[in-house]
Structures are given as C-alpha cells and as structure tokens.
C-alpha cells in the first residue's frame, strides 16, 4: 500500500499493523527516514508532491520491487507539506518469505525514493531556503541496482 500524508504518522503503529496476521511471510524489514536538524542548520523541511502522479510513480516502484524480490507485500508511507526536525518523513516496510529479499527490497525502494520519486524538497534554515536535489551519493546508490 502507498500512502501520502500531510499529517505526522507513527511508524511503530504502521509496522505493527503491517505485521499483523502474517503467517507465510517469515521476514518484515523496515526503514524510517527522519528529518534532520543538521545542528540547527535546518529548521524545517518542506516536501512538495504532485498529487495523482506521485502515488502512481511510487506504486510502479513498489510493483518493480515486488517482482524483483518476490515480495509478499509492501507498505510505503511518505509525508509531504511542512515537516519539523525529528519527525518521520518516510516509512518503507517489505514482507517476504525470507530476510534477504526483505532487506534488499527495502534498500532498493529507499534508493529509488531518494532520486526518482516525484517529490521536491526544500530545506529552511537560518541562512534561508534551498531546494535539495539528489546528491552524487544518491545517484551512486541507485546505480547499484541497474
């Protein structure tokens, strides 16, 4: 399931619900991305989404991951709008028969979200605001899966 939210979410509750009732998935892996304060250099994050497009594109990534890693299920919860330091931005959870596939799919999905998911991220701080684009490291990370 893919969900975009302008409201804070609780990763623990999401993960508990995602794990509930599984009798065939031996492994659930998860990743939570949290907004950093960067020692006061970032006072707020602002994520812009393209409603009706962002969800569909993330859904395609989730389908590709499901096929590639034989996943049983995927959950992606992603914030947009204003986000305060310390708040979760993204939760990715993957369910598979065994741990290796669940771990790898989680890693793969995060690499895709970082540089190919339709979000635009602005960092606000004492020096003003700036748009953040994928870093060289983000691009190296995604190239691992090609």
């Amino acid at each position: 399931m893919i969900r975009l939210s302008t409201e804070p979410f609780e990763p623990g509750a999401e993960l508990t619900a995602f794990c509930a009732g599984r009798t065939e998935s031996g492994a659930v892996a998860s990743f939570v991305g949290i907004a950093r304060a960067d020692a006061g250099q970032t006072t707020a994050l602002e994520l812009e989404a393209y409603p009706g497009f962002t969800e569909v594109e993330i859904g395609r990534m989730a389908e590709a991951a499901t096929a590639r890693f034989a996943l049983h299920d995927v959950l992606i919860v992603h914030r947009h709008g204003p986000i305060a330091p310390g708040e979760p931005i993204v939760l990715v959870a993957t369910a598979a028969a065994h741990r290796r596939e669940a771990f790898e799919a989680c890693d793969y999905l995060m690499d895709y979200l970082k540089s190919r998911a339709p979000f635009w991220k602005k960092e606000h701080g004492p020096a003003g605001a700036r748009w953040v684009e994928p870093t060289a490291r983000d691009l190296d990370d995604i190239a691992r899966w090609d």
Binding site: E48, Y50, F53, V90, A117, P118, F119, E133, P134
Partner: protein
C-alpha cells in the same frame, strides 16, 4: 490547458499553476511561449534533469498539446 511548475521552477517563475487558453500547439511551442515571457524560466525549463509530464505521463521529445489538459515541468526529484 493547465501548466504546473514544481520545486525550484515554481520559485523561479513566481507562479506554480497557470491556465493557457487556447493551448499552445506543442510542447516546444509552450516552452517558447514561456521563454518569451521569462528568459530565466525558459533557460531553466531546458536545463539538466528537467522533465515534462503531459497528463501525468513523462514525455521525452515532442508532443502535440491539442487535446491535453495538464502539462507539468518537473526538476530533479528527491524523496525520502
């Protein structure tokens, strides 16, 4: 037809959504129109990593806009 600008493109232009009626004939004609009004935006639309989505589908190359309702210009994306 609606034109949407995301991320830094919206800040550069000073708008994020505008209606164009009638729609320009093609994506190239739309870009030329926008560049004619604002050459900084025009240069940014042709800059590295900027993609166009027509009715929420990424388009590479040229496309006619006659029957289109929405064109979005998307600078490099970053989630997570």
């Amino acid at each position: 037809m609606r034109v949407l600008l995301f991320g830094r493109l919206g800040d550069l232009a000073g708008w994020r959504e505008r209606a164009f009626d009638p729609a320009p004939a093609s994506l190239a004609a739309l870009k030329a129109l926008l560049a004619g009004e604002d050459n900084v935006l025009g240069a940014a639309l042709s800059g590295p990593g900027v993609q166009a989505a027509v009715d929420k589908t990424i388009v590479r190359g040229e496309i006619a806009l006659g029957a289109v309702t929405e064109v979005a210009f998307l600078p490099p994306m970053s989630g997570g």
